[in-house]
């Protein structure tokens, strides 16, 4: 398989923010798993880095919207990543239900990216009950009588 192109998009401040987002979306109720979250942020960076320069720039600007969302969504003079996890969840809920569609789209874009990568981890697939086994196609096989088989 050809090697993946190696380029990155996030600076340190973006990595902190993406990690804070992931904690709020997925792990507040489960306790921190620092190593996995770090690897997850790397993977998100790798994923978005396959997009074009302008799209990556757009994604970075969207992160800035999330960073300062507490100021105008919950009236807290704090950046998103500096809030405790329950407050971050409240900010994201406000973004999701916002009447201002661009705010909803910023939230939806990052939610989609994070979910796409997070829920393909084997632990999450196991938690969901996903199995790679396929059985329904077997019903399409022609029935062979025991006499014919002999």
């Amino acid at each position: 398989m050809p090697r993946d192109f190696t380029r990155t998009t996030f600076f340190a401040r973006h990595r902190v923010l993406v990690r804070a987002l992931a904690e709020a979306m997925f792990t507040c109720d489960r306790g921190p798993d620092a190593a996995r979250l770090e690897a997850f942020v790397d993977d998100i960076d790798s994923f978005v880095s396959h997009a074009s320069r302008m799209l990556r720039l757009g994604l970075l600007l969207m992160l800035e919207v999330i960073r300062f969302a507490p100021f105008w969504l919950v009236w807290r003079p704090a950046t998103f990543e500096s809030l405790p996890c329950p407050d971050r969840i409240r900010v994201l809920e406000r973004m999701e239900s916002s009447r201002f569609v661009p705010v909803v789209l910023v939230f939806a874009a990052y939610k989609a990216i994070l979910c796409l990568v997070y829920f393909e981890h084997r632990d999450e697939l196991a938690d969901v009950g996903y199995s790679a086994e396929r059985t329904r196609w077997v019903r399409a096989l022609p029935l062979v009588s025991s006499q014919a088989a002999e």
Binding site: R7, F26, S52, V101, C115
Partner: protein, 514 residues
């Protein structure tokens, strides 16, 4: 593994070659042209911006890995909605095999009424059902189009079919280009068993066997035009380390076929100096939508073909095609509402979730713009009629779900409450929200370099040759003159087949002695 591929990312010195025909793009259009012309004895070079991965390698890819390696913009591209229009995510492939690697394999012919419109209103007799019949047949045979057996339906699809039946909506089995499918639910992420006959499996190997050469990781920046005639292409290979264009290449050719898809063909033609006010306009998207339905019964919807049945019951009256759909858990999780614990509760109910989709036979309103990036800026202004159709499709799908016994239905509308009864659905759609809040995706961008009978009405002639430059052809979804309302893979291949046969018959490109 395909022989005959030069991986551009490994090339370190400027590369020059010569061919009878250079084909830009290796998707449903380009691969068919390459196969037909190579079979006819032409020396063909196919140039593809994306990389090459053997189908066996798809098995090791997670869905997000597939998107980053095989999809344009890592599948994050979108058409910006203008006015009362949703943001429409636009999916297209960027790999050897193009979007055909990422389709569900669904094969429709263009509906008769659309063919009739092309002939009667636009005068495109060569695009009529009768004229394309032999080309449809040739492609259907080459890519093994077959009916999806009932046994391959997922349990979730079975339930939607039951719901449709209760509402008097007839469902029919889909046709797909598959051979030996076991319903692994990977169609849209590259089939590792070669059961989906995407063009990297069905067309390009034969092209290569007949002498065609493929350059992968090769970004064409310009079609060279001299004296009003195309004479080759120039571009740069993508660097192995960064993916950015680096080492230059030049392919001289007697004839150039552009098949980069409806988003990039107009940009390349414009960069190459072609002037037509129709370039990039008339883009249609087939905006698609879907609902999730949660049942008490465990369904494991990933067991079975993602796409197996459809209904054209509402096609004539409402321009809506209903079509079964599902996806891997990570992709579905992104569509569930909520944050943290609420979201996770929904994700844990994935085994109890069914999905069904619909696409709109749209009026167009899309446009491809060149701007600060190599990728286009795509805008889309949805017509008032299509907005009604989009919400109508959602309502039909929700009614089908409740008729099948769903306990909850999740609509693809940002901020919409979960529907728990049919009355909730009726109440919600009695005063629908702004279309800007709808979630929508497009898998079939078409029409941005449309075919026409006169140069003032379009970009290419019925032969596929551009009106503006000789020996420069277009053979992809961008030539399709209107929305077709159904999946576009088979029509693109059939039209490309017709264009390729026309090229093969031209004396001017008679095979040279190699």
């Amino acid at each position: 593994m395909l022989d005959g591929i030069l991986a551009g990312r490994t090339v370190e010195r400027p590369f020059v070659t010569r061919a009878d025909v250079v084909v830009v793009g290796s998707g449903a259009g380009g691969a068919v042209v390459a196969r037909e012309l190579a079979r006819a004895g032409r020396d063909v070079v196919v140039v593809e911006e994306g990389g090459y991965y053997a189908p066996e390698e798809y098995a090791a890819m997670t869905p997000s890995n597939t998107f980053r390696r095989l999809a344009r913009e890592a599948a994050l591209g979108a058409a910006v909605g203008l006015g009362e229009t949703p943001l429409v995510a636009v999916m297209s492939g960027k790999c050897v095999g193009g979007s055909s690697v990422l389709t569900g394999g669904v094969c429709f012919r263009v509906p008769e009424e659309v063919h009739d419109e092309w002939v009667s209103r636009l005068g495109l007799v060569a695009m009529g059902a009768r004229a394309l019949e032999p080309h449809y047949r040739a492609i259907e045979s080459a890519v093994h189009v077959e009916t999806v057996p009932d046994a391959l339906r997922s349990r979730g699809t079975d339930l939607f079919v039951e719901g449709a039946d209760k509402l008097g909506i007839p469902m029919r089995p889909l046709r797909r280009n598959t051979h030996g499918c076991r319903g692994e639910g990977r169609c849209n992420f590259g089939c590792p068993r070669r059961a989906k006959m995407s063009v990297d499996v069905s067309m390009l190997p034969e092209a290569v066997a007949n002498g065609a050469r493929i350059l992968s990781d090769a970004l064409v920046e310009r079609v060279e035009i001299a004296g009003g005639r195309a004479v080759g292409v120039r571009g740069r290979f993508r660097s192995e380390s960064t993916g950015e264009p680096g080492v230059p290449f030049h392919v001289e050719a007697d004839l150039v076929v552009v098949a980069c898809g409806a988003l990039h063909t107009p940009l390349l033609l414009r960069r190459s100096g072609l002037r037509s006010r129709h370039l990039g306009r008339h883009l249609t998207l087939h905006p698609s939508t879907r609902v999730f339905a949660l049942f008490d019964e465990r369904l494991d919807g990933w067991d079975g073909a993602f796409q197996s049945v459809y209904s054209d019951h509402f096609f004539r009256s409402d321009g809506i095609t209903l079509i079964s759909a599902f996806g891997p858990p990570s992709l579905l999780a992104a569509g569930f509402p909520g944050v943290a614990a609420r979201h996770r509760d929904y994700v844990r109910r994935l085994p109890f979730t069914a999905a069904f989709g619909a696409l709109i036979h749209d009026d167009g309103g899309g446009r491809v713009h060149r701007w600060l990036s190599r990728e286009p800026l795509v805008t889309y202004r949805m017509s008032a009629r299509d907005r009604v159709r989009l919400f109508r499709a959602m309502r039909i799908l929700a009614d089908m779900a409740f008729a099948a016994g769903a306990k909850e239905v999740i609509l693809p509308v940002f901020g919409a409450p979960t529907m728990r009864t049919p009355a909730d659905v009726a109440s919600f759609f009695a005063a629908p929200p702004s279309a800007r809040r709808a979630e929508s995706v497009s898998f079939h961008p078409l029409g941005s370099a449309r075919m026409s009978m006169r140069p003032e009405e379009g970009v290419v002639q019925p032969t596929g040759e551009t009106w503006a430059a000789r020996n420069l052809f277009v053979a992809d979804g961008s030539v399709i003159p209107t929305s077709i309302g159904v999946n576009s893979q088979l029509p693109i291949m059939a039209i490309a087949h017709r264009i390729a046969q026309g090229i093969a018959d031209r004396r001017a490109t008679a095979p040279r002695t190699r």
